[in-house]
Amino acid sequence: MRKVYLDHSATTPVRREVAEKMWTYLTDKWGNPSSIHGVGREAKKGIEKAREKIAALLGAEAREIVFTGGGTEADNHAIIGTAAALGGRKGRHIITSSIEHHAVLDTCEYLEKDGFEVTYLPVTREGVVRIEDLKSALRKDTILVSIMHANNEVGTIQPVEDIGRICKERGILFHIDAVQSFGKIPVDVQDLNVDLLSISAHKIYGPKGIGCLYIRRGVKIDNFAHGGAQERGRRPGTENVAGIVGFAKAAELAVAEMETEAARQEKLRDKLIKGLQERLEDVELNGHPGHLRLCNNVNMSFKYVEGESLLLSLDMSGVAASSGSACSSGSLDPSHVLTAMGLPLEYALGSVRMTLGRDNTEEDVDYVLDVLPDIVKRLRNMSPFYKTQAMV
């Protein structure tokens, strides 16, 4: 049976070049970067080169990059670090959107319990934050705006440049969760006017458990964890050296191939979307239909069908997809993103996310177009909501 992996927004296979780089740092250059002897200095050199590489790709300086244990830690660090640094002095109001990843949403909710006020901006039916909504939410005591660059479920790209400009004018810190956008669209911290920006390696063919937070020079936020003096005193704990060098390698390759890959995946994406729309009725494309959509994201709803049973059937046909974000799959609640976009429940429950990657081919898309419609029809015929044409 053909195997088609269409869940690249959940995680990606580690590239061979990346795994090999990591192997070197696991088996050969395994020292502790904080040690002053030769074994340690080799490891130190590895992480400092990696830092420079990633900084350059973001238009940042090496000293502005802090390695973290992934995207979630970077988001927590940015938001809690800002709240701790400014909450006592400047204010206790934070603005984010209602379609953020749980790493941002749950952190904001945690701060609400701690006496912070959070405004969750609504989005349009296409999943885009409106600048007017942001403007009217801004307050004198707003200390942070945290908006994702591209959404993980529906792939919508947010107007982060404009948001960055507004925040800069008012002297409010701006954080971007760029976990899904980095490597797919340009991410330049100068263009974006951003103070804090999160990335995660495993979304760009790097290893899981490593990411980074960009902290603009001069921006003073508190540490998230406490301990040793690693990362210039900003993130304690012995560095995940193999992960860091693997991350940098993955980032380098992703950015180098970005333009050609994005164009290629966009074609596959549009073919898949159009193909499904042609083959099935009562189908809805979720997210933005045009230029504000990530090159690799297909998120569609099939009325009368429940998402998990659709995924399960796809899996049995060799197609790996997901429903909402991977970590909340298994729950029966409709996705908070689709709900915020105002999708009716019968569509929200029947959504499936298919996210393309560098390993996908046109044959993969043809295969999905071949198997998915039959699965949907089969499940619809089982559904008490669907008016069957013929009795089964």
């Binding site: 009368y304 069908v305 429940e306 998990e308 049973s309 399960l312 059937s313 049995m316 298994g330 029966l332 609640d333 409709p334 429940l345 019968e346 429950l349 015929n381 089982m382 559904s383 008490p384 909501f385 069957t388 009795m391 089964v392």
Partner: protein, 120 residues
């Protein structure tokens, strides 16, 4: 995640469909809960001669409906009403803890159908 039996009943659900001349019909669940099951029964001399179901729900819900309908077929109404979630889950070779609640729907619908049949 799911046992082989679950996957078998999910892929090849038994007794799926509707029944034009059912003696009893009941539906439980709603879109708002994310799960819905509708049960159709043909009853003769207190025996469930035939049963059909339609389910909107996850893999566990569909497999449970399939298994529950298999378990009640040919049983008396009293016997059928006694079948428990436990019985269905065991017959399926187990379910992930967070999915057990999805297996109650078919039995609920079945009991509702029997009750209505008896009260008519």
């Amino acid at each position: 995640m799911y046992s082989e039996t679950v996957m078998d009943h999910f892929t090849n659900p038994r007794n799926v469909g509707e029944m034009e001349d059912a003696d009893a019909v009941a539906e439980v669940g709603s879109l708002a809960c994310g799960d819905t099951t509708k049960i159709f029964l043909r009853i003769k001399d207190n025996i469930i001669e035939d049963v059909k179901f339609k389910t909107f729900g996850c893999g566990a819900a569909i497999a449970s409906s399939s298994m529950a309908t298999e378990l009640v077929k040919g049983k008396s109404l009293e016997e059928a009403a006694k079948i428990s979630t436990q019985d269905v889950v065991e017959a399926l070779g187990g379910l992930p803890t967070q999915k057990v609640h999805c297996s109650v729907m078919a039995l609920d619908a079945l009991r509702k159908a029997i009750e209505e049949y008896n009260s008519n």
